[in-house]
């Protein structure tokens, strides 16, 4: 057995709880409703939501798009809240730890992989977006040629990534107040964009605009708008545990999470939808119309806001990725802060530097990936808590090894894995995440909801009838004798 932590006990405990290896005690969980609401809104308000709304504009007009997007956001956040909030807020643990009862102590690291991929994806969107805004400023000021975008955007993106890493070298304190400042900047930017669009294009033009490239099936278009926002909100799965673990209970955390995470995403996505309908060639990307509509005097400061906001959000994202790496037992205490942040942001540099344009133009595939993976996980956790009524063992989640509740088969729960695969297969049958081709009954049920349902159903049935002894063992988890800590 290897325990990769060094230093004095006080330092260990402080770092272990701050970085999420261990649960927080009641004394450490001092966020109230207002504080959690503020942090949630700060996390949710980022410029990438404009792009999401722009993607929905391909399928839906302003009114139908608004309805589908708000509904999708709410349903997505419902799944995440049901899956994570009761357990994470009860024990002061993060989402990865809350997954251990279902996937096994080692199997839960799958959630960590997903979290890392998700954060890398969002950070890539932000950094490419930032590169575009930077180059757009230079082009509009006549400092670089119009045709140099292809070369300069990746360069600016990678340079910004280096900048993010450099700022984070100062440590986690570099993050303080960043989230709030970014939220304020992006909200102002959103208001500015709405005013600009209404003034230059006209509200009735936006409301009357046709979708950019709809399918021949109206129901497919409508369901896809819903599906995209549901999938995005499922991506809050890793964040929700990290947020609510700092509050003293589920009741205090419920509405700040629902309102603070769910509503800003749908509200700002609507601005992206309206922008894309008003300026179809933009796809909701403000870098493509701010100069055109606002002129240099208004457009350049707005683009500078985008740069600042994206830089700040990427700081938060990289911080989360670095914390994610700290969850891996063999990394705990072994990676320096600088190396953690470098490893967290290196994949973003690769994506933004080499495949930026392709990634940005296929963001729908990334959104589908979020639905494919997070929906089954939510379904399994919901089935475990509400159908099987298993009440997780705190000791089982943190004390590992043979004979402990969540060891299952070498740290993996085969039933959890089968349930997950069933959910993934269901999603991929209903909606091909690469081509967005669908199969019946996708148009009536979407892909996220059935994927969560099937994963949960398979998990519940197999846990009840194939592994009943495991259920019994877990119900008596408090009596389990730990053998290994890993």
């Amino acid at each position: 057995m290897v325990v990769g932590v060094s230093g004095d006990n006080g330092g260990l405990e402080a770092r272990a709880s701050a970085e999420g290896w261990w649960p927080l005690t009641q004394g450490e969980r001092n966020w109230g409703t207002v504080a959690l609401m503020g942090v949630s809104v700060s996390a949710a308000v980022a410029t990438w939501v404009f792009i999401i709304g722009g993607t929905v504009a391909f399928y839906l007009d302003a009114v139908a798009g608004s309805m589908a997007m708000i509904a999708g956001s709410l349903v997505g956040i419902l799944l995440v809240v049901l899956a994570v909030l009761p357990v994470a807020s009860r024990f002061g643990i993060d989402s990865i730890a809350a997954l251990r009862p279902q996937m096994g102590n080692r199997g839960a690291y799958f959630g960590l992989v997903l979290m890392t991929l998700s954060v890398v994806g969002w950070n890539s969107v932000l950094m490419i977006f930032l590169g575009r805004a930077s180059v757009e400023i230079l082009v509009s000021l006549g400092l670089v040629a119009d045709g140099s975008r292809g070369l300069l955007v990746p360069l600016f993106s990678v340079a910004s990534i280096v900048g993010v890493w450099f700022v984070l070298r100062r440590g986690p304190e570099a993050m303080q107040k960043t989230g709030t400042a970014v939220a304020a900047v992006v909200t102002l930017l959103g208001v500015f964009i709405v005013v600009l669009l209404v003034k230059e294009v006209g509200w009735s033009t936006i409301m009357d605009a046709e979708p950019l490239a709809p399918s021949s099936s109206k129901l497919y278009n409508y369901t896809t708008g819903f599906e995209m926002l549901a999938a995005i909100n499922l991506a809050w799965w890793p964040y929700v545990g990290g947020l609510v673990r700092s509050t003293s209970g589920a009741r205090k955390a419920l509405w700040p999470v629902v309102i603070g995470l769910g509503l800003p995403v749908s509200a700002l996505s609507l601005i992206g939808l309206f922008a894309a309908l008003a300026v179809p060639e933009s796809g909701g990307d403000p870098t493509k119309f701010l100069i055109e509509l606002g002129g240099v005097s208004a457009g350049v400061p707005a683009l500078a806001f985008i740069i600042l906001a994206n830089f700040g959000t990427a700081l938060v994202g990289t911080y989360i990725a670095a914390l994610g790496l700290a969850q891996v037992p063999s990394f705990q205490g072994r990676l320096s802060w600088n190396l953690s942040t470098a490893l967290g942001i290196l994949p973003v540099a690769v994506v933004a530097g080499l495949f930026g344009s392709q990634f940005f133009d296929n963001i729908g595939v990334f959104l589908a990936f979020l639905g494919v993976t997070f929906a089954p996980i939510c379904g399994i956790q919901i089935a475990d808590y509400y159908v099987l009524k298993r009440r997780p063992s705190l000791r089982g989640m943190f004390i590992h090894g043979p004979g402990t509740p969540y060891h299952y088969w070498r740290g993996f729960n085969p039933v959890g894995i089968v349930g997950l695969l069933a959910g993934v297969a269901t999603y991929m049958y209903l909606l091909n995440p690469l081509t967005y081709e669908s199969n019946p009954p996708y148009e009536y049920v979407s892909a996220t909801l059935p994927a969560a349902f099937v994963a949960g159903l398979v998990y519940a049935v197999l846990m009840k009838w194939v592994m009943p002894s495991e259920r019994t063992a877990v119900k008596d988890a408090s009596a389990a004798e730990p053998s290994v800590v890993d």
Binding site: M1, Q26, V63, I70, L74, V75, L78, A250, R251
Partner: protein, 54 residues
């Protein structure tokens, strides 16, 4: 810190966390009812209205 000291510290923390669990802070029936209304019933209504528009 060796592994035994790590485990002792962890065990101590788990005991503190378990002792501090506040059952009254868990979600109750009313909380679930409101959550359901806001994130399942409301979306259903919105989808219906939106589809009527389409």
């Amino acid at each position: 810190m060796d592994s035994q000291a790590y485990r002792d510290a962890l065990e101590k923390r788990l005991a503190i966390v378990e002792a501090g669990i506040d059952e009254s802070a868990s979600l109750n029936g009313n909380d679930y009812l409101l959550l359901w209304a806001a994130t399942a019933v409301l979306p259903a209504v919105l989808l219906f209205v939106g589809w009527w528009w389409v």
